[in-house]
Amino acid sequence: MGKWTRRAVISAGVVAGGGLIVGVAIRPGNRAAKLSKYVAGDGETLLHTWVKLDSDNVVTAIIPHAEMGQGVGTALAQMLADELDADWDLVKFEEAPALGEFANYPMAQAMLLAGADIPDFVLPTVEGALIRTAHVLDLQITGGSLSVRTTGAYGMRIAGAAVKEMLKIAAAEAWQVPVNQVIAENSQLIHKASGRVEPYCAFAESASQMTPPVSPTLKSVDEFKIMGRHVERHDLPSKVDGTAIFALDVRLPDMLYATVMRAPTFGGGIDSVDEVRTRAINGVVDVVQLPSAEVSSMLGKFTYAESVAVVAKGYWAAKQGMDALNIQWRSTENDGVSSDAIFKQFDRDISAGVDRESDIAQGDLVASMENAAQVIHADYRVPFLAHTCMEPLNATAMVNDGHCEVWVGCQSPLSFRQAIANALGFDIENVTVHNCFMGGGFGRKSRPDYAIQAAQLAVSLGRPVQLLWTREEDVRQDFYRPAIQSRFRAALDDSGDLIAWENTYVDKHEPDEAALIPYSVDVQDIGHVRSPTHIPFGAWRSVAHSHHGFFTESFIDEVAVAAGQDPFDYRVARLQHLPRQLAVLTKAAKEAQWHIPLAPGRGRGISLQSSFGSIVAEVVEVTVKDGNLSVDRVVAVIDAGYAVSPDGMKAQIESGIIYGLSAALFGEISIKDGAVVESNFHDYQSVRMSDAPAIETHIINSGADWGGAGEPGTPPIASALTNAIFNATGNRIRQLPIKNVDLQAARESTATMG
């Protein structure tokens, strides 16, 4: 999901930041007065972009992130409330409106300034420029496991601490006492000497007139009261009684229902549409051809192909109408492309090595390979993957008097707003995006195609329209985790020591460092070649880590086996320079009782992957009996610096593991005739209750910089699983998904000796 790369934001920041040092200081002052009209209701006072206080002393955190299951509002509100010394029972949160004024400048700040030592007197200037930068970039995204470590660390904590300082100053002035004698505690201001106690809200009005301090004093970890504590998520009661509102649950007067279809072959278009049978269906209102739409973003331009929509008085009639259409699709140059052809192309391009670019190149590879006692090599492959969010893509739109309102669940409300405005030819001020709970996101809901279609339909019909994709369209018109091939060679000396590591893969994606290994190996050459396909790329939970975590942590296992050593011990010996990684891996092995042998037919595998600022190790236990695989247990350990919301972090790790397990066991989008073969949950399967292992998650609070939680659980699971299958059976799996592997077949050799 992390498509806002640090590099990209920095380059954009240079433009806006050119004036940072020499330019005019843009003091933001208190922006609350300007923003108040958007978020402050009756009796509420906005004290800071991200904080309001009502007359009942309830603090509301305004969260510039979307809720797609990860519990982001709860964790960020904990960070804000703790620094504010608020009473947790008097804390609420709400999602920031999709307006440029609420662009997420703390996120830009984190990306630009992480590690930079900015003198205090420059900070107001930097803040001003960052607000402008974030605004220009439509930065209000949810992805990259970034929320806690950027918005939380650089926004919510500072906002909470700043508001606390403002309230203390306001109380000191009102009481005519020195500010250092005013204590803030549990949403109350206290002056012990005079016995005065008043709620925060008594000073909201006067505090709102002040300019928030930009570098207020933050708490040390031992002062945390709400961070690190188990708190219940605020959104769950509505998610157990059916009252939570997802975009699909929006009901507007006079609303019509629609479904759409695009050319199955990506890049294809419509030749002709025979609508006769469709229009004869009771309830069908219209058949509409929607034009293609071009979307510009920092990732470059992307064109969404044209589509056919059937609009009806109910979804069922629309669906039947769609089934009754006779559409002739235009032929394309990709009509003959298959998965086989794509993998042959990858194999050819890796072998040719044309324009190979290195991620890292150190030491003399040729000499190391020549002098090796043993060289092993192997090729790994993973297929394309769809996201299959539980809630199929949908959006509801209404156009009145030249103003378009769209209800949607999305990971980037500001860029959706811009994309809709561009597609309709509307001014941005005439588009409002209402972001709803997302029934899953996983990276898919950062692409605005479905929201644009709904808006186009509302314009075309002149009535509110709820557009719902069929699951088949959702699977076949996704933006896919790419298929990847990765080739390895390793040189070992006569003691089994790893002396050289070579790796070439196709298709470089973010994060940059995904293919790198943590192990101390003097000679390394890791690089990639381009091998483009016509299948649209999408950020899929953990992005490039999702495949490199499988490749590198499987091959290091092969190296350990070739060296005749225990895979855990072999890793440990090469992690002595990375104490955090070592601690995580060691704890995982200890909790999983790594060195206690298992019965025949059972096996354990281990894997370690650092991603999105966090370090995760997983140990999987399997049973393989008569060719049937059972994934019995997963032990996971995460070091994300500090767990703000420990149960929320555990839930995210559990979720990341099951998401990755679905892909490892079953996930395969295959291409035939240039189009996706799979269509629904019967042929694109997910882990179900009976497949799900027991999961134990352990948290290490190392005190290192904050890391993410949404994605880091996913990368280690596939390799931990296939390493466990190897341990149980001697069968080394180098191509996912596992459903295609005959586990009863004779064991393969380990890596091919060369």
């Binding site: 998520r233 157990v240 009684d241 229902y257 009771n282 996101g441 019965a599 559990e654 949950f681 799900a692």
Partner: protein, 168 residues
């Protein structure tokens, strides 16, 4: 006209009787707690009770439930002031993430416990097999069901491990 009882209220419906119950609930009756996920009885997001039995409403035509009693997630709690024990357990175990599948999960679990108050792990696997959770909260769902059933919790992998350790 088709007559059904939904959450205790009789509904007279002028709808094409071949329409799946899911769309009647969501569009005619504005009961949006029941979700669409696949349209082919593969994911369970649309699960409701028909005369007490868990059914996938996305493939159940209105005509097939004529005269029958339907319960949806909106009608699972005994009254407006009280949650169903499973709903309470779902909060205690912090089960939902995105929450989109949870109406269906709860309806399947409630139907299971209504006929089998102390389900085994195998019983839970069978009863919940039709419900996908893409957020992967299966272990929490299992714990929540067991906490209501009052069954002692055990984990087959851990039990097996303990046996192996005991056997050396």
């Amino acid at each position: 006209m088709t007559v059904i009882t939904v959450n205790g209220t009789e509904q007279k419906l002028q709808v094409d009787p071949s329409t799946p119950l899911l769309w009647v609930l969501r569009e005619q009756l504005a009961l949006t707690g029941t979700k669409f996920g696949c349209g082919m009885a593969q994911c369970g997001a649309c699960t409701v009770h028909v005369d007490g039995t868990a059914m996938r409403s996305c493939v159940t035509p209105l005509s097939a439930v004529s005269g029958q009693k339907i319960t949806t997630i909106e009608g699972l709690a005994p009254n407006n002031n009280e949650l169903h024990p499973l709903q309470q357990a779902w909060i205690e175990e912090q089960v939902p993430q995105c929450g989109y599948c949870q109406s269906g999960q709860l309806m399947s679990a409630a139907a299971l416990l209504a006929t089998n108050p102390s389900p085994s792990d195998a019983d839970i696997n069978i009863a919940m097999a039709g419900n996908i959770c893409r957020c992967g909260m299966y272990s929490r769902i299992r714990r929540a069901i067991k906490s209501v059933a009052g069954v002692q919790q055990f984990d087959p992998a851990v039990t097996e491990l303990a046996r192996e350790i005991n056997n050396g």
